[in-house]
């Protein structure tokens, strides 16, 4: 899932300083399950915004709603009529949701209420950890199912480095050394010999280094008009 966290209230209020009437829109998928932007969080933010602006003697009307997924235009159609009444939309979606809202409603200002953190999941109640950086060429098959791109601070292809101490990374003793984890997993799988081979540098052109990325599936595209 995409993991996000609410921005400080003050930062959101600052972005809304010229608005009188805004619609807070939640997203019912990733950010709902990491408790950042679901229905309840929208209610909480809307309440907080109304309260803090009222206390300052400012007038800000905040209404609230939520859609199943902000990153799919089909779910945004339902808002077409509704958004007309508002100066701005406060999105509690991840950065993708914010941008899809901006594309759907080109004449509305879209304010991000969340900071999008990473792709990951909960490791215990109330704790989320990063697991993938979308490198575009997954190498988990060679690393025992532990991602060295997102979990090794140096993104090493051949670890661990000399900073690996008692199973932890030198940058923070609470962060496990990814390469220690890889080693342990590969050992359990009886595949240590594979780790003895030096991996070549990663081809980053499939990642962000190759520019904004796109996935095209011809089998799923709608037929062109002339073919119908």
């Amino acid at each position: 899932m995409i993991v996000a966290e609410r921005k400080p209230l003050e930062a959101i209020v600052e972005m809304l300083k010229n608005d009188r009437k805004v619609l807070a829109v939640g997203c019912g998928t990733c950010v709902a399950v990491c408790f950042a932007g679901g229905k309840k969080e929208v209610e909480m933010l809307a309440s907080s915004l109304r309260m803090t602006t009222r206390l300052k003697g400012e007038k800000l009307e905040v209404d609230e709603t939520s859609v199943q997924r902000q990153c799919e235009v089909e779910y945004l159609e339902a808002l077409d009529e509704r958004v007309k009444d508002y100066d701005a939309i406060v999105s509690l979606g991840c950065g993708v949701g914010v941008q899809f809202l901006a594309e759907r409603f080109p004449d509305k200002r879209i304010i991000p209420a969340l900071d999008t953190k990473f792709m990951g999941g909960p490791t215990e109640a109330g704790v989320w950890e990063e697991r993938c950086q979308g490198c575009g060429s997954c190498m988990l098959g060679e690393t025992g199912g532990v991602c060295p791109i997102s979990r090794c601070a140096k993104q090493l292809m051949n670890g661990p480095c000399g900073g690996s101490k008692h199973g932890h990374c030198e940058i923070d003793e609470n962060i496990p050394c990814a390469w220690q984890l890889i080693w342990e997993r590969m050992d359990k799988l009886g595949r240590i010999d594979e780790l003895m081979e030096i991996s070549s540098p990663k081809d980053w052109s499939t990642g962000r280094d190759g520019g904004p990325r796109r996935v095209v599936r011809d089998d799923l595209r709608l037929p062109e008009d002339e073919d119908i």
Binding site: L9, M44, L55, G57
Partner: protein
Amino acid sequence: MTQTPEFEPQIVAFCCLHCAYAAADLAGGSRCGYPPSIKIIAVPCTGRVDSLHLVKALEDGADGVMVAGCLPGRCHFQTGNLYANQRVEHVRSLLKEIGLEADRVRMINVSAGMGVQFAERAKEMAETITALGPNPLRVRKAQVAPTDAAMEETN
């Protein structure tokens, strides 16, 4: 904060049926009074009380909100009171962000037999809120209303 002498705070108290609600009953039955400003809402467990309930109560004008659950380790559902305490702490820090005093929300822990202690805690809460004065949101609402009307006119 200016405070009228006749200010009687409105305090919403979410009381767990298994402890604090019974304690409040006992306090009443034992003629051990607690302030009438405490308005009790019975809940099956304080674990049922959501952060949103606390915030909404304040948004709607309550001067204070109290969550009254079982003693730590004595929750009928084991950990409901511990969750409630975490939520109260969460809301207290949110209130600071909003610009309201954190002390408007408080958690207390009592057993069903602690009628006297319930009354004492309730009294302390009422004193705290009386000292803080009325919820400024309620005051604001009253002040903002005519301004709103004026704005409608100018529109």
